[in-house]
Amino acid sequence: MGSRTIAKDIITIRGSAAIVSEFFDNLSIMYNRGVYPEESFVKVKKYGLPMLLTQDEGVKSFIANLTAQLSEWLEAGKLQRIVLVIMSKATSEVLERWNFSIETDKEVVEKGVSREKSDKEIMREIQAIMRQIASSITYLPCLDEPCVFDVLAYTDTDLAVPFTWIESDPKLIANPQMVKLHSFDTKIHKVDTLVSYKNDEWDEE
């Protein structure tokens, strides 16, 4: 093993945090669920898939601010969960909740050790999630009204709240349908994906 280890892919807390925050940067949920108009997205190749990234300056800066904060928390191992909430613009009713639970390897955070996992393998796991998100439109209810989104970060309580953030309620959906998607694991951060959505009463006649 000895000399072989060097050739292997070493992943540190920084690298892992970068992968995870990049994952949130690239989520194409906003495109797939039609929160923003189709024209405001451009296609890029990412994770071996065509991904759609927003070109809207407002949304871009929101996401940039978000991911900057997320990587900080991820490196500190303080982030437990990220929830992307899609709400009706008119009534603020929560229609969908994209729940990304994050488990952090505490040993890595505390002792600063690194783990081994190849980039390729992580990318493959992320790709599987991205594909699932894209195909989720087949079962998710049709969002037939203008929607807004919000991002909730679940953090440890011993954390000082940055002044650009406020505490929020969990914005839960009463009696939701839930679908668990794939997860990915950098060996330091494990991200589980789950989407919950409002029961479509329309189909239950």
């Binding site: 894209a134 049709c142 839960l172 006649e205």
Partner: protein, 452 residues
């Protein structure tokens, strides 16, 4: 949950039965989880907590919620370690966009609770004779324009049938050496019609003045079997496998050529956004082309090459309520309806219908899909989407159904078949019911893709 860790040790103390099959979970004795719940890590315990605590609290004392009680509850929760997380959100909310929501008007689930069950008439409400209709699966000889006039090509002649007053008129008859007509398509304004010919030319006619405006030639080398408008762009698909975008306003009308198909192009549809074109061919292929990639010089012009079908792909239909969902149907040897995510190119579902699929139409009002078929029943089948439960089978044609067209109000469907009959079906609801749904704003050319 933690009991799972000690499972392997407890196994040793228990007397084990030789030759007895191991319980399934012992293979994965590290975790006490079953195949139905392989992983609990993503379960929404917040929600469970909410259901246990908050919901009950609301039930027990809906009014009484004094600050002290609240503080006590919070303290208790903290003491019980229920509140280990802090939920944060940005103060600045992401920008909201005023979306034009064209689909809002077409989805009728606003009055959610009151939706009377719809009676789907099993017989056609009207039958017209269509003598001389060319029985060729690869042609597209029927179209219903936005001015509520149906166009059908019978042999060498294009006829119009006005659905508002049931009057018939004739546009033109093509010479024997140039015909027969291989495709017709209404421009989005409903006042102009494109006619594809066997001799590779396309004629444009003004139907209000009844005069020919121009002839598009020089693009194709053989018959033009499919036509599709995208604003002022007329897209033509030929037997030579070429797909050409023609700008009908300018003299040199050929603006883009898509090369991919190596057999006849028989199905062409632009997405509602006008950005993506789906094309099906007799080479069993379905291509997705991006308007912005048309002029690029890369060897592959297409966005996706979809190879799922095993026979000619003529039936293609973009979903009106999900912009990147496409339905396609295969011919005789395939008989499948497939659903695609055109964003990723993934096939989402495939359904064997048991018969050749000649056309597909989405309902503008409900999540339903209508397909037309050939041998053995020559029927129209109405499917619920996405469950693909059969809602109705409409029979009446005595030969394979070749073409379908939807009225501008979305309710009536016309089908033309090899039995030289044109039948009208009131399959997508009745016009009275859909009238009190908000009207679609009809800007010139804006919504034409759905007015087909």
């Amino acid at each position: 949950m933690d009991a799972g860790g000690s499972l392997s040790t407890s196994n040793q103390t228990q007397p084990r039965n030789p030759l007895h099959e191991q319980p399934l979970h012992s293979r994965n004795s590290r975790q006490n989880l079953d195949r139905f719940i392989p992983n609990r890590s993503a379960m929404d315990f917040d929600f469970a907590h909410y259901m246990l605590m908050e919901a009950r609290k609301g039930k027990e004392n809906p009014v009484l919620s004094s600050p002290s009680k609240e503080a006590y509850r919070k303290h208790l929760a903290e003491a019980l370690n229920m509140n280990r997380t802090r939920i944060l959100a940005f103060k600045d909310k992401p920008p909201t966009v005023d979306l034009m929501f064209p689909e809002t008007s077409s989805c009728v689930n606003q009055p959610k609770s009151v939706k009377p069950s719809r009676n789907i008439p099993q017989t056609s409400e009207r039958t017209l004779d269509a003598p001389g209709l060319v029985d060729d699966y690869y042609l597209n000889l029927l179209d219903w324009g936005s001015s509520n006039v149906l166009a059908i090509a019978l042999g060498h002649t294009v006829y119009l049938w006005d659905a508002t007053n049931a009057s018939t008129s004739e546009v033109t008859t093509i010479d024997d050496e140039n015909g027969p007509i291989t495709s017709v398509s209404w421009a989005p304004d409903g006042g102009h019609i494109a006619i594809g010919l066997n001799n590779s030319e396309v004629q444009l006619w003004d139907t209000t003045a009844n005069r020919q405006l121009r002839t598009l030639r020089g693009g194709h080398r053989s018959r033009v079997g499919s036509l599709e408008w995208n604003n002022h762009i007329l897209t033509t698909g030929g037997m030579d496998g070429l797909i050409i975008n023609n700008d009908v306003r300018i003299r040199s009308h050929i603006v883009d050529t898509y090369r991919g198909h190596h057999r006849e192009v028989c199905g062409l549809k632009w997405s509602a956004s006008g950005k993506q074109l789906a094309s099906g061919g007799n080479d069993n292929l379905l291509y997705i082309w991006d308007r912005s990639m048309a002029s690029s010089n890369s060897p592959t012009q297409w966005l996706h090459k979809l190879e799922g079908h095993t026979a000619a792909v003529k039936a293609v239909a973009w979903c009106p309520f999900q912009g990147n969902l496409l339905a396609s149907g295969g011919g005789e040897g395939d008989r499948c309806i497939k659903f695609w995510n055109t964003h990723t190119g993934a096939c989402l579902n495939s359904m064997d219908t048991g018969s050749q699929v000649s056309a597909l139409l989405w309902s503008k009002l409900e999540r339903e899909l209508l397909s037309s078929h050939g041998f053995t029943q020559n029927q129209l089948t109405l499917w619920k989407y996405p469950s693909m439960v059969k809602m109705a089978e409409l029979t009446g044609h005595t030969s394979r159904v070749l073409f379908m067209a939807q009225s501008p109000d979305g309710c009536t469907v016309a089908s033309a078949a090899g039995d030289e009959r044109l039948r009208f079906w009131n399959v997508f609801g009745n016009p009275e019911a859909s009238k009190h749904a908000p009207k679609i704003i009809r800007e010139p050319f804006a919504n034409f893709n759905r007015i087909r």
